[in-house]
């Protein structure tokens, strides 16, 4: 572990960001009698009024099942849901709307790729390549698949600074690898992986690629054509939309080759007892009535972000994260997990004798919400010889004053357990 010690000035919050914070009603509430300081954004983000209103409006005016009604409400609900798909496609710069599959979240998206894309191709001698900094959602589906097929899971190591070991990556990228699945931004360390050249190397060897963008799409512009990935996954609730909705982006060519995920209504072309045929993507992968309000609300969340501007968000958050890292590193008892070249979203740390769970409780009574534990990254914590860390994770609505409140509370915790 190492410390970031470069001095940083207090960032100025751009006026557009100051105004946007007012759009989040929950940020006006208190917690344990203190103003809420919400620093658990990597777990789930808060929702702006525009998204909350979109959900209400849907249930007050449009609610009906989609893709199957002849009446006005169904037509309107279908149009709103499909418009949301288009918004996601444009948000990611997909070539076509049909490349966007709605799922319950990033976890389901990855399981869908494991089942519908990779499993039918996989031989016992094949390998799936991931890294040591993956979230459990990008580990366990591949472990389960490896158990079913006899294929092997290969792991790109992580260095002490929290960066990928790229030399070993080159060695591991052999012809046996059938899928390279990598996290864009680490939810624990905050490392921003420079994935574009890695995806290009995999592509050059004919290896399919999946990018876990659950912790990047809310912080920086992400362009699937520029990055060149075959699949990309993210969750709605981490990007200011409701829980229970998420996205799988897949290149249309590759989606066309894939078998269905779940069977049921809306994914079929013809059903008979002598044989059933399936719809083309994305419908083939969307059995049953989906989370219609969630999909529509996700579209509104993306509209909201685009209006504010991902470039504005990225520029401000970069300063805020650098400020937070330097202020935290200045606490003598505190050790940061990793020291990546580019950090986004999350900062994890330990505080000498204070256990992360105790830190979490002490901060909670000060109105500050953080995460304590392994953040669904147990292998990463094992690699650093830790069973838990505390994590502060940020969204654009967080302020330098909130960083200062965090620092004051952490100093109290350090004193209590000294």
């Amino acid at each position: 572990m190492s410390q970031t010690a470069k001095p940083t000035t207090v960032p100025t919050v751009p006026p557009a960001i100051v105004a946007a914070r007012e759009d989040f009603p929950i940020l006006r509430r208190s917690a344990h009698g203190k103003p809420l300081v919400y620093l658990d954004n990597a777990a789930s983000t808060q929702k702006p009024q525009q998204v909350i209103d979109a959900i209400t409006r849907y249930y007050e005016h449009e609610n009906a099942n989609i893709h199957r009604g002849v009446h006005l409400l169904s037509t309107e609900a279908t149009a709103a849901y499909e418009a949301a798909r288009g918004k996601v496609a444009r948000f990611l710069n997909a070539v076509d709307d049909s490349e966007i599959v709605f799922t319950r979240g990033a976890t389901e998206s990855i399981n869908l790729v494991a089942h519908s894309y990779l499993e039918p191709l996989l031989q016992p001698s094949d390998e799936i390549l991931i890294s040591h900094m993956e979230h459990h959602a990008n580990i366990v589906p591949w472990q389960l698949l490896a158990e079913r097929t006899g294929a092997k899971l290969k792991i790109i190591p992580v260095a002490d600074d929290g960066e990928l070991d790229l030399e070993t990556f080159d060695q591991l990228l052999t012809e046996r690898v059938k899928l390279f699945a990598i996290v864009h931004v680490s939810n624990a360390i905050g490392t921003v992986n420079d994935v574009k050249p890695l995806l290009a190397k995999a592509k050059a060897r004919g290896i399919a690629t999946l990018l876990d963008a659950a912790q990047s799409v809310q912080h920086m512009p992400v362009d699937v054509q520029d990055l060149g990935c075959d699949f990309l996954v993210f969750s709605g609730h981490k990007i200011f939309a409701p829980t229970g909705i998420g996205t799988l982006y897949g290149r249309r060519e590759i989606l066309d080759t894939m078998r269905p995920y779940q069977g049921g209504g809306d994914m079929i072309s013809r059903v008979s007892f002598s044989g059933t045929t399936y719809k083309p993507p994305p419908s083939r992968f969307e059995a049953g009535t989906p989370h219609i309000a969630g999909g529509i609300a996700l579209g509104f969340a993306l509209d909201y972000l685009s209006q504010l501007g991902l470039e504005t968000i990225h520029a401000y958050e970069s300063e805020l994260l650098a400020y937070a890292a330097s202020q935290l590193a200045a606490i003598p008892e505190l050790n940061l997990l990793g020291n990546p070249r580019h950090r986004s979203g999350a900062i994890s740390f330990t505080l000498q004798e204070a256990h992360p769970h105790d830190i979490g409780t002490i901060l909670d009574t000060e109105g500050i919400a953080i995460r304590a534990g392994h953040h669904c990254c147990e292998p990463l914590h094992q690699r650093f010889g830790l069973n838990a860390t505390a994590r502060a994770s940020f969204a654009f609505y967080n302020t330098p004053a909130e960083v200062d409140a965090l620092v004051v509370a952490l100093k109290k915790a350090a004193t209590l357990f000294a």
Binding site: P356, H357, D358, T361, I362, G373, H374, N387, L416, F417
Partner: protein, 141 residues
């Protein structure tokens, strides 16, 4: 420190967590390990007993202050007690914390754990050692 926090982190609790009693492995005795997947904490409780009475309880752990203090207090409270009585105390402790209808009746140092009732997310931290003890009782020597 604010008052809610003071009720949780009482001096007795902090003292046990910073200087836990019987914080060691007991080779040759019975043991059981319990892991809390929510936070990653893990505790192993060791015990030695005669025909009717416990002789010694100890533990090793990677755990928060509440879990460590609870384990330390447990090792003192239950040591040398008749096995059946220790089992019933441990069962009452676990069910008392998990069943909100009936607060556990705790005396002596253990009373310092009562503040945890105000922090539902920390209740498992307190019960983890006692769950491990009950499992160790069931384990083969």
């Amino acid at each position: 420190m604010n008052s809610t926090l003071e009720r949780l982190y009482r001096q007795t609790l902090l003292e046990h967590s910073k200087k836990p009693r019987n914080n060691q492995a007991l080779p040759g005795g019975r043991k059981a390990t319990v892991h809390n997947p929510l936070c990653g904490d893990e505790i192993t409780v060791y015990l030695k007993s005669g025909d009717t009475n416990l002789e010694q309880i100890a533990f090793t752990s990677q755990s928060c202050s509440i879990c460590t203090a609870s384990a330390s207090m447990m090792s003192e409270t239950l040591a040398t007690k008749p096995i059946s009585q220790a089992k019933s105390i441990a069962e009452d402790f676990v069910s008392g914390f998990k069943d909100k209808a009936s607060a556990p009746k705790l005396e002596g140092d253990l009373a310092a754990l009562l503040g945890i009732l105000e922090f539902p997310s920390r209740i498992r931290c307190a019960t983890l050692p006692w769950e491990a003890f009950l499992l160790a009782l069931e384990s083969k020597p």
